[in-house]
Amino acid sequence: MSMNTEFRPTIVAFCCNWCSYAGADLAGSSRLAYPADVKIIRVPCSCRVNPMFILRAFEKGADGVILCGCHPGDCHYSTGNYYARRRMTLLFSMLDYLGVENGRTRVEWVSAAEGVKFSETMNSFVEKIRSLGPNVRLGDLRCKD
């Protein structure tokens, strides 16, 4: 069989407490399945996510990292996700520049009412990561060991 069917990626999802984490809860209470590969870390706001967290996840073996927050304009803290958006745009662009497959990182805005969107987002993200395969290149960044 091809490797993709066996490959079980490790995926870290950072979700803001007010919208996306609640959206994930809604996906759960609506029984909208998505792969168990996704593990959610609760943060107060998407602006709490430091690029360091994302790189650290890759360093430790994650195959994909997704950040979910309130829709722009709906931030519980009014402006947090706008900062997150700029930070992540630049970070992703840098990873792309370094030759890391873009697609291993994603930002998606999911409101507390969007259980369906949360589930669909996770399904498509896992699908994407499975198609990319294991995170060799970010792993390869370990140039010496």
Binding site: V12, R31, A36, N50, A57
Partner: protein
Amino acid sequence: MQRIGVFVCHCGSNIAATVDVKKVVEMALKEQGVVHAEDYPYMCSEAGQSRIGEAIAQKGLTGIVVCSCSPRMHEATFRKAAERYGLNPYMVEIANIREHCSWIHKDMAEATEKATILMRAAVAKVHLNAPLQAGESMVTKRALVIGGGIAGIQTAIDIADAGYKVDIVEKTPSIGGRMSQLDKTFPTLDCSACILTPKMVEAAAHENITIHTYSEVEKVSGFVGNFTVDIRKKARMVDIDKCTGCGVCQEKCPSKKTPNEFNRGLNNRSAIYTPFAQAIPNVPVIDTTACIKFKTGKCGVCQKVCQAGAIDYTQQDEIITENYGAIVVATGFDTIKLDKYGEYAYGQSKDVITSLELERVMNAAGPTKGHLERLSDGKAPKEIVFIQCVGSRCSDDRGKPYCSKICCMYTAKHAMLIRDKYPDTNVTVFYIDVRTPGKNFDEFYRRAVEDYGVNYIKGQVGKVIPQADGSLLVQGVDLLDQKQILKKADMVVLATAIEPNPDVRKIATMLTASIDTNNFLTEAHPKLRPVESPTAGVFLSGVRQGPKDIPETVAQAGAAAVKVIGLLAKDKLKTNPCTAKSDELLCNGCSQCANVCPYGAISYETKLINDHGIREDRRVAVVNSALCQGCGACTVTCPSGAMDLQGFSNRQILAEVDAICR
């Protein structure tokens, strides 16, 4: 080293049917620092909570992980339980193995593995949890109400009645606001002044209320319970203590060519004026832009005629600084400008007026002394056309996308009053929809149609064309009759959209309160916290929050007052301990964090820092934990990592990442 207890909830079969809870317990016991693990059918039950208590007592637990439903559901429950059993509530973490696991996965092995990983991440986090104490801040037992309309007055009276001091800041020379300009009120048709004036007097006479008219808020700093506000008291040029309100100065004032704001510019006033007869305080102000004395230096009539010697041309603006525990924003509304609506001929013909102008025309104290007459020639109009939704429900930039809410009702009121007083005058209303939700509202509207014969036409007006004979040709459509209508009218009244007063941005910025795309202030929650702003200690009253009529405004004013009273009744405030905290040894004082803080919670101090024996004065960031809401924007901006968020620290989140990726 923490001693951690892991409690795995079955949630009946909600979790246990998909997750092998015994296995999770078994895996938990292998984790570093886990000294106790058990499962139980309902952890959140009283019995479940007491098991946590037992384990805390017997095993000396220092940290707890509950594997259960979403923390949004029961985090508070388990934190309280921990506190009850002597553990700091912030030593509890939840692993969400229901919404994020058992409910979405079918395969037991897979779900159990994921639940184990989520448990592991929570354990890793708890290792780095620190006991957090909710902070305390003192509450200044005084409230500020910005805006002296009916909303502000009602809020102030309610707060004052509860025994707290209140200051009202009103930018015009008198309190009263929009309501004082109205003639009658729907749906009861009682006279606006008759019901408002007693309220104004009550406020003025109230021992707990201080009114600053002709004043504006200049600067706001501080936080919930501890605001410091600078108020600019504009120079009145009239000594408020000496003036007796006799009115002679206004009579004698030679400069009488200034458009009267109170009458919407429909007539003129003197340079020294009180906006209306019942003004509170009944003390005039000198409009220095119109006053001959101020323009040419020669005149001084008012000073000469004033028996009380109250006129003082040397007065200067004065800034007073006061402390408040709470601030209520009740700055009200105005009608939108109609310069983009050329088709209605507003501004081209004096006989096309807004509804608010009609209120003044109908009012006995108004420019026509209450006679309904055309402003162009003073003749009685025989044919009046009302146009609804002028600028409301409009998706382009000419108007506002929202419904202004009050127009249907006041138009019915106007139509009814006209038909009542002038039965030979025909009234036609062009409407899109008639919206009358409210007690006795639809009945009121039906009375206008059924008892007073007001002609309601479903359709809009495309154009108003002033005719050579002074009449107005109204071109509209009757959608039900499928007819285009050309109607000759003597007067056209536009139900103009309302919008928040234009100073909204300035005030919102000062208060760090957010405003929506229509410039209305945003509520902390649109349904559950409608009178609070997202900024703690700032409350919303009246149309500033959204369009509403008088009863609703008064109700909201009361609600805002209750929130203020609830706040002022406390001596101290507990603050959310999950706030940002700056490590002074690492802080560069670079101010980047303050730039992104939405709450203005970060300030800078120059402090003597002892950095491993090196003592120096350094500029360091200081977080005001009462203002900080714990979003964490600052933490990522801080390059040195000096700024961290308690409860969601860098190391805690990294520990979770590590545990998941292990």
